[in-house]
């Protein structure tokens, strides 16, 4: 890994569903997103995933935090999305050794679009 450089990538995305999703559906969507993104990174070249994590904040101290550290292990989740949520803004940090900032940006964006399509949702990056 000493030969693999770390070029952190971060973004904010607005996710909009065609209808309010149940809290567990939002959790499943973002779990799927990070799992797919971790796999996409590994498939993209020699790399070591440090940490890929996303956070969405809501009123009343509610939040959803999803995190993945390897393509071989499922993401972990803390918090939950409030009921009746159709749109949310997430902050995403992608810390992967061995892939460039630009490559991580491409993978993050492309994977988001794929996952959004499967959930009949849209995603817009800042």
């Amino acid at each position: 890994m000493t030969d693999l450089t770390l070029e952190p990538y971060a973004t904010r995305q607005t996710w909009s569903a065609s209808r309010p999703l149940e809290p567990e559906e939002w959790t499943a969507l973002h779990t799927e997103y990070l799992a797919d993104l971790a796999r996409a990174c590994v498939a993209s070249g020699t790399c070591v995933i440090g940490h890929i994590k996303l956070l969405a904040l809501f009123a009343n101290q509610e939040y959803l935090r999803v995190s993945v550290v390897s393509a071989a292990h499922p993401p972990t989740v803390t918090g939950a999305v409030p009921a009746g949520t159709a749109d949310m803004v997430i902050t995403l940090n992608v810390l992967v050794y061995g892939l460039t900032h630009d490559r991580l940006a491409q993978l993050t964006s492309a994977t988001a679009v794929q996952v959004a399509g499967r959930w009949d949702a849209t995603v817009v990056e800042e």
Binding site: M1, T2, L6, P8, Y9, A10, T11, R12, V48, I49, G50, H51, K53, L54, L55, L57, Q61, Y63, R65, S67, V68, V69, S70, H73, T76, T78, T91, N93, L95
Partner: protein, 196 residues
């Protein structure tokens, strides 16, 4: 003012541990500040801590083990000058070499720190791999620690837990070691040690 360093590689479970500690500190009436140094273009952990009404100080755009050591020292001095904090928890970036933090502390000019304790969090899912590819960094973190925590035990297999514990023990046989599940209750004796 006491100082607690919580180190570990990216994604090892540092923030989860700190959130649990902060809750315990609040219940115990320990006035706590958290200094977070995140790597990346946008900080996430500090946003979450603020959402939970914790007293968070963010050090950004660099690493407190090298380019931001002066900022860390200044932050500690400011916290000391406020006289309102009993415990400062420092979370360096998981990509940092934490032993360099100790080189920064002699430049601190506040009142003497009552104690400096070091906790290293280890991820049993990846520890063998990390010891292969990042051996000096991971080994240093284990050697320096006053307490070792093997996290995510509910996510790891029995073999992964045993391998992680054995690897830590091989490097630091006598350091107190705790195994914690993700988001599980902290053992009372560990809380007492870390908040004392």
């Amino acid at each position: 003012m006491r100082l607690l360093l919580v180190t570990g590689f990216l994604g090892s479970g540092k923030t989860t541990l700190i959130l649990s500690l902060a809750r315990a500190a609040r219940q115990a009436g320990v006035r706590t500040a958290i200094v977070v140094n995140e790597i990346g273009e946008i900080g996430i952990d500090n946003q979450l801590m603020r959402q939970l009404d914790l007293n968070v100080w963010e050090l950004f755009n660099g690493c407190i083990c090298c380019t931001l050591t002066a900022d860390l020292v200044t932050t500690l001095q400011n916290l000391d000058a406020d006289y309102t904090v009993d415990l400062v928890i420092v979370e360096p970036s998981g990509a940092a070499d934490p032993k360099n933090l100790l080189n920064a502390l002699p430049y601190y000019r506040g009142r003497p720190l009552a104690s400096i304790r070091w906790v290293t969090v280890l991820d049993p899912l990846r520890l063998p791999m990390l010891l292969e590819v990042l051996e000096p960094l991971i080994t240093a973190g284990i050697r320096q620690a006053d307490f070792l925590i093997v996290s995510k035990t509910d996510l790891a297999t029995a073999e992964e837990r045993a391998a992680a514990t054995a690897a830590a023990r091989a490097i630091s046989p006598d350091t107190p070691l705790y195994c914690l599940s993700l988001g599980g209750e902290l053992p009372a004796e560990l809380v007492a040690e870390l908040l004392a």
